[in-house]
Each structure stands twice: as structure tokens, then as C-alpha cells.
Amino acid sequence: MANRRVLAMAFGGSLVACSSSPPSPAVLAVTLTSPPVGEGLTDAGLSLPVGTVAEIDVCPTDDGGDIDGSVSARADDSTYAVLAAMTTPNQFVVIGVAPGDTTVRFFFNGQETTSLTIDGTPANVLAVEVVPQTAPR
């Protein structure tokens, strides 16, 4: 790395900590981080410009209380969006790969759960729409 100069840094990020409590959540509380460009969060779910990344934080909850458990997520059609877990617990990224619609499903301790709240709104799955870029040209 000799002669390389680090001139700019970017900062940010967040951590979600789910408190220890009994298992078997009533719902998975999904919190979306708006992508940097595009429509971002919509009533239907997440609108994600192709090539960009959005973050999903998931906490298993029981009537408002957080509980621990293994959470995973998967997109039905990886042609349009890909899910990946982050190294931090209960956090995922959605990567917009190509324009199109897909559905993200969530699993708690290996079992799919359709009892979700997405930014506080009840839902069964997370709808993801990958849209063309609209950034300045």
C-alpha cells in the first residue's frame, strides 16, 4: 500500500440490537433504510434503483418486545434483486440487479413467517421493485 493516499472517508451505518426474551415471535419487525436515490420507500415496499443497495433491519418481536432468534431473508427472483446478510446481526442488504419486481420472504429459525411489520405496517412479504436509474446524467 506504499504511496497510496487515503483522502476521503465515508461514514455511517447502524446497529440493531434485539434484546433477549422468549422465542416464537409474533411478528418480524422490518425496518427499511431508504436507498440513496429513487423513490425509496413506498406503500408497496421498497423501490430500489438498479445498481444500488438498501438495508433491511429485522427484529423478531413479541407484542412490541424484542426477542432473539435466527432471521434470514431471500428474494424469490434473484434476476432482479439479491439478498445478502450483513456481518452485523439481523441486518441484510438488498442489491438491485436489474429492473423488475420481486418478493422478499423472511424466515425465523428456519421457518417462513408472513407476520411482518414493514416500517410499522402489517404485511406478509416485502415487495421490492427495482427501477431504472434516475440519477443525474
Binding site: R5, P36, R137
Partner: protein, 332 residues
């Protein structure tokens, strides 16, 4: 011994995400201010909510840094640079008025907007580890939108592109870089980053014209690709050629994307630049004695008692020769 160009060193500290930034007054007696237009994040608008640990890495300097003791008061002369963003930031960080503490706040500039097709390097370092993590690789969200070569990565399509730091199958962090199409060439003095009141002023475009210099001063001007709204675009550039419309008034030496200007005599000059397919120009107004005035002074000196008969009368004597002659004329 002529001092070598001192390479800047930026320490790491977490200051929070970029975003609306006001004026900071962090040191006693207003010794340092960082002013950015509200909503600005980076030189040119970067994107909000970046993940921590990503760094825009400037390429190594092919000449290892410029030998220069050129007057820092007149704007430090820059080494050979191929990336205008690196040239401008290096100027800020090498300013003698700027200490390491103040340089930390350059981090607020974030990762800059880059030109489509311009190579750059992006690195990730776990902020908690404090050193590069070998098991982490950085990749674009859509690999097809990126080309890779020895100079680094280049984004091939305009728009925002995510970059992820992969640790095995998991993502340690991510960030976005905005790529925009370069449409013109801007020219800006490097010293425009440092305002007269000892504060930083970010620049998102070319300097106001004309650039005003004093005869005898040295200035560095950086040529950079700019988007259609004048935003400066980072990334490696082809070597630029610079031309002064009046070399007898303004001499210019190209060093990659940097032009080192020396104002020789008063007058109006146009500085033109071409970098690859882009070209641009800037007006330069040099204050001070005009060339003719210099020559007249030279002629007057030569006509001093005892030398009057040797003085040239056509005014064609070069300024340097005139000065030299004047010194000799004044000698006992």
C-alpha cells in the same frame, strides 16, 4: 536542499454521515472553519448514508512529489497528479496553515462523484480493526457496470452504483458512488479551497473568471472534468496540455492535471487546457507592472549615468536580461 513535497496523512475518525453541513468553528479564535454549502457531501454531491470504512484512494505520484520551495504564500505548487480530486485535496492538506487536526475534517467531503469511465481506487478498512482486512473484498453491486484495469475501477454507466465489502458470503459494509458523464473541462486554482479568512471553502465548479494573479506570483490550477451543472468529477484523467495565450506574461508548466502558472508581467491572458477529449479555458488577469513597463524600467536602468550610451532603444530587451543589466548598472 529543496524540500520535498510532503505527502499528506489523514488520520481516521468517525464523524458521522455526510449531509447538510454548516460552518464549523472548532478551534479557538476562529482559527479554522470548514464551510460547505448545505447539502453538500463531497466535492460534487456525494450520496447520503454511506457505510463506514470505505476510502477513496489516490494513485501513487509518478514523480514521487515535486521538488518545490515555491512560495507557499502564493499557493503551493503541486506535484504531478492524474486525479483532479486528489490534486485539490492534497493542496488543502499541504497548506501550511492546516494541521493534522484540521485535516481530519476533510473526511466530511466523503467519497466524491466520479466521471464515467475515469479510473479510481476504492478501499475498505474495518473501522474497528484499524487495518485492512485481507478476507474482505470490495465489489460493485452490478459487476457488469464496472471495468477494472491497472489504474483501478471505472464505472461505465452514469448513475449511482453500490459497492459492497464482502466478508465471505456476508456484507461488512456498503457505500454508493455516483458516476456522471463529463461534458466539459473546468479549471480552478487549487488555492480556492483555502479562503482568505483562513477557512476552507468547498468548490463545486470552475473558478470565477478571470483568475486574478499578481505579477511575480506562482499559482497552481487544476483541470478537471465537470458534469453539465459544473460539478467537479473525480477520477484519473489523461495528461493535460496547457497553453498560455501570452507566454511572455504567463508561463505554464503542465504536471498531469495540474498547471503551474508563473505570472511574469501585468496583462490579460487566456489559459487553455485540453485533457483527452475535453477542453476548456480560463481568463487570467495579472496585476502589476505590464511587460512594456518592465522594459521601460529596464531601459531606464540601462540609461543610468555611465551606461546611457549602451542602453537599447528598441525596448526588445528580455525582462530577465533587463533586470540583470539593471543590477550591473547599480553596482559600484
Amino acid at each position: 536542499m529543496i524540500p520535498r513535497w510532503r505527502r499528506p496523512l489523514l488520520l481516521l475518525v468517525t464523524l458521522g454521515a455526510c449531509g447538510p453541513v454548516g460552518t464549523f468553528d472548532l478551534f479557538p479564535a476562529g482559527s479554522f472553519n470548514l464551510s460547505l454549502p448545505p447539502g453538500t457531501c463531497g466535492i460534487g454531491p456525494a450520496l447520503g448514508v454511506p457505510s463506514d470504512g470505505f476510502s477513496y484512494v489516490c494513485p501513487a505520484l509518478p514523480d514521487g512529489g515535486l521538488d518545490s520551495d515555491a512560495a507557499s504564500d502564493a499557493g503551493a505548487v503541486l506535484p504531478y497528479e492524474s486525479d483532479p480530486y486528489c490534486a485539490l485535496v492534497a493542496e488543502v492538506m499541504s497548506n501550511p496553515r492546516i494541521g493534522v487536526s484540521e485535516a481530519l475534517f476533510l473526511q466530511l467531503y466523503g467519497i466524491p462523484t466520479v466521471a464515467v469511465g475515469a479510473p479510481f481506487q476504492l478501499a475498505y478498512e474495518d473501522p474497528e480493526a484499524g487495518a485492512p482486512t485481507p478476507s474482505i473484498t470490495v465489489a460493485a453491486a452490478v459487476p457488469a457496470d464496472v471495468q477494472s484495469n491497472q489504474a483501478g475501477l471505472s464505472i461505465t454507466v452514469p448513475g449511482s452504483l453500490g459497492f459492497l465489502a464482502w466478508q465471505g458470503a456476508d456484507v461488512a459494509a456498503y457505500t454508493h458512488i455516483l458516476a456522471r458523464s463529463p461534458v466539459s473541462l473546468g479549471l480552478s486554482p487549487a488555492s480556492s479551497f483555502v479562503a482568505a479568512d483562513h477557512g476552507y471553502v468547498g468548490t463545486d465548479g470552475s473558478a470565477a473568471t478571470p483568475l486574478v494573479l499578481s505579477a511575480g506570483s506562482i499559482e497552481s490550477v487544476v483541470a478537471f472534468a465537470e458534469a453539465d451543472d459544473g460539478t467537479m468529477l473525480a477520477g484519473g484523467s489523461p495528461a493535460c496540455t496547457f497553453e498560455s495565450s501570452a507566454p511572455q506574461l504567463l508561463s505554464v508548466q503542465g504536471r498531469g492535471v495540474v498547471a503551474v502558472l508563473m505570472a511574469l508581467a501585468g496583462g490579460d491572458v487566456t489559459l487553455s487546457a485540453q485533457c483527452g477529449l475535453l477542453d476548456g479555458s480560463i481568463g487570467v488577469q495579472i496585476t502589476g507592472p505590464a511587460l512594456n513597463a518592465d522594459l521601460e524600467a529596464s531601459a531606464d536602468a540601462e540609461q543610468a549615468p555611465g551606461d546611457a550610451g549602451e542602453a537599447g532603444e528598441d525596448g526588445a530587451t528580455a525582462p530577465d536580461a533587463g533586470s540583470s543589466d539593471a543590477s550591473e548598472a547599480g553596482a559600484p
